[in-house]
């Protein structure tokens, strides 16, 4: 019986914002119905669930829509029992929120601009900007992980989700343009962390093959 507890996720397979929501649900052992959106032909459900932004991801829980990926992740963390996404200590929580916001505000925009850049100059400029953000995140990893495998410590946490959900795009930048935005020499800690992230149980099957991201990027560039 369709119920008040049903969970649906509207997403796009290569979207870091959708990926992080799906991994969070996996961390909690929550089963959900996944609906892949065609962003050139958005579904009625998407448009009515997120009329303000008309974007993925949307989580629909018992019929109620929640939008904005980090808002959704915090909601999932608060509502479902199981592995904690945010740490329990207030200060650690604030630090986690800070770095997750940093990923979305300072790393993601230049990375996307890099992938869509038309000229060599623009690509170079955006690569530099992205690499600067990655350098900050490398330092942050050192501070947050305290020597443990993830930003969240022993297991995946909030910042891991924020950054880890972008890995297929970082890989795409290398495959398509020969530029390593995740660079083993410049950011060794993050390079090692990335391998652990994609191997984590909760991430398996959610982080897509780079091939899909490359195809998506080519289509966007053609438009």
């Amino acid at each position: 019986m369709a119920g008040k507890d049903d969970v649906k996720v509207l997403g796009v397979v290569v979207s870091p914002f959708a990926i992080r929501v799906r991994i969070a649900l996996n961390m909690k052992g929550v089963s959900y119905e996944y609906m892949e959106e065609d962003l050139t032909n958005k579904s009625e459900l998407l448009l009515s669930s997120n009329p303000i932004h008309k974007k993925v991801p949307v989580l629909i829980h018992g019929g109620k829509p929640i939008c904005e990926s980090l808002v959704i992740v915090q909601y999932v963390d608060e509502v479902f029992p199981g592995a904690a996404v945010l740490p329990s200590d207030p200060y650690d929580r604030a630090v986690a929120r800070f770095w997750a916001a940093y990923v979305d505000d300072k790393m993601f925009p230049p990375m996307v601009a890099f992938l869509l850049a038309v000229t060599e100059e623009e690509r170079a400029a955006k690569a530099e900007e992205t690499l600067a953000a990655m350098a900050q995140l490398e330092k942050a990893f050192g501070e947050c992980s305290g020597g443990k495998p993830f930003f969240g410590g022993d297991s995946i946490g909030y910042v891991d989700l924020a950054l880890g959900s972008n890995l297929q795009w970082l890989e795409t930048s290398y495959q398509m343009f020969g530029v390593a935005l995740l660079d083993a020499v410049k950011t060794p800690l993050l390079t090692a962390w990335a391998k652990r992230f994609v191997e984590a149980d909760a991430a398996k099957g959610v982080v897509p093959d780079t091939a899909l991201a490359v195809e998506f990027c080519k289509k966007l560039r053609a438009r």
Partner: protein
């Protein structure tokens, strides 16, 4: 200083909470207001944003911005993050976020809206003229209409404040910023909040501004007007100098963290245009 029982001296009292801010920054006001609503004492240090202190740069090396809140010497940055921290760290004080998870999510969603959509649109009105300004005004109205609809038909329907009977997180975030609307209207001569077009938003803002703690926090209209006039002059001069009527980003961001600083040139377009 009293000697404690174990023979050591009590340490000199450090302020438990210290806020670095700027008098015209709505992000700073959010934190001041939140602290007052929670009845938390704090020390305040005014920053000259044209000549930032060594302490500020040390405590917020990543963004170099106000507000920064020190709690027992540990720095916190980003106003909405600080507000949520206050709820977490001071659980015995009046909560800013509601307890229901769905309402919490909704509050957070609209905080993002305030900072990603409404704020920049208002800033764009202030930083532009002519056709560009017309488009920015249209954006502001579109955004206010969304808020109005939420107040009229959404989960906040029938409430005096987004937080219910009392001011909460979303009220603080939206409210500390919304007072610029009237100021910008005065300075640019452009109508932004029509009480007829946005009656619920208008009523909410009036009730918000009437709260004691809000009156204590928001600078006088005269000071805001003077400040806004000066800023507008500078922005227009820059726009004229730039010739393409486009980006006025750099000096504004270095001067102030008011909503105007969010008036967007460059970086967002690629990401915003791409749904991934």
């Amino acid at each position: 200083m009293e000697k404690q029982e174990n023979g050591s001296e009590a340490p000199a009292p450090e302020p438990e909470l210290k806020l670095y801010g700027s008098w015209a920054s709505s992000y700073t006001h959010r934190v001041q207001l939140a602290l007052r609503l929670k009845g938390l004492e704090f020390e305040y240090a005014e920053e000259d944003l044209g000549n930032k202190s060594e302490a500020l740069l040390r405590h917020n090396p990543v963004h170099k911005k106000v507000p920064v809140l020190l709690h027992r010497g540990r720095p916190l940055a980003e106003s909405v993050i600080i507000l949520q921290y206050l709820d977490d760290a001071f659980p015995d004080t009046r909560p800013l976020l509601p307890s229901d998870p769905f309402l919490r999510a909704l509050s957070r969603f609209w905080c993002h809206f305030a900072d990603d959509k409404l704020g920049p649109a208002v800033g764009a009105v202030f930083a532009s003229t002519g056709k560009e300004q017309e488009e920015a005004v249209r954006q502001v109205h579109e955004n206010l209409a969304m808020l109005e609809a939420e107040l009229r038909e959404g989960e906040f329907k029938g409430r005096r404040f987004f937080g219910g009977d009392r001011v909460g997180l979303l009220d603080v975030v939206l409210g500390c910023g919304s007072y610029w609307l009237a100021v910008f209207e005065e300075v640019t001569g452009v109508r932004l909040v029509d009480a007829d077009a946005f009656p619920l938003f208008h009523a909410w803002l009036r009730d918000f501004e009437a709260q004691e703690e809000v009156k204590e926090t928001i600078p006088s209209v005269d000071r805001l007007l003077e400040y806004a006039r000066g800023l507008r002059q500078m922005l227009l001069a820059l726009a004229a100098g730039a010739g393409d009527g486009g980006s006025t980003g750099v000096p504004v961001s270095s001067a102030v963290d008011a909503p105007v600083a969010a008036a967007p040139p460059a970086p967002a377009p690629a990401a915003a245009a791409v749904d991934i």
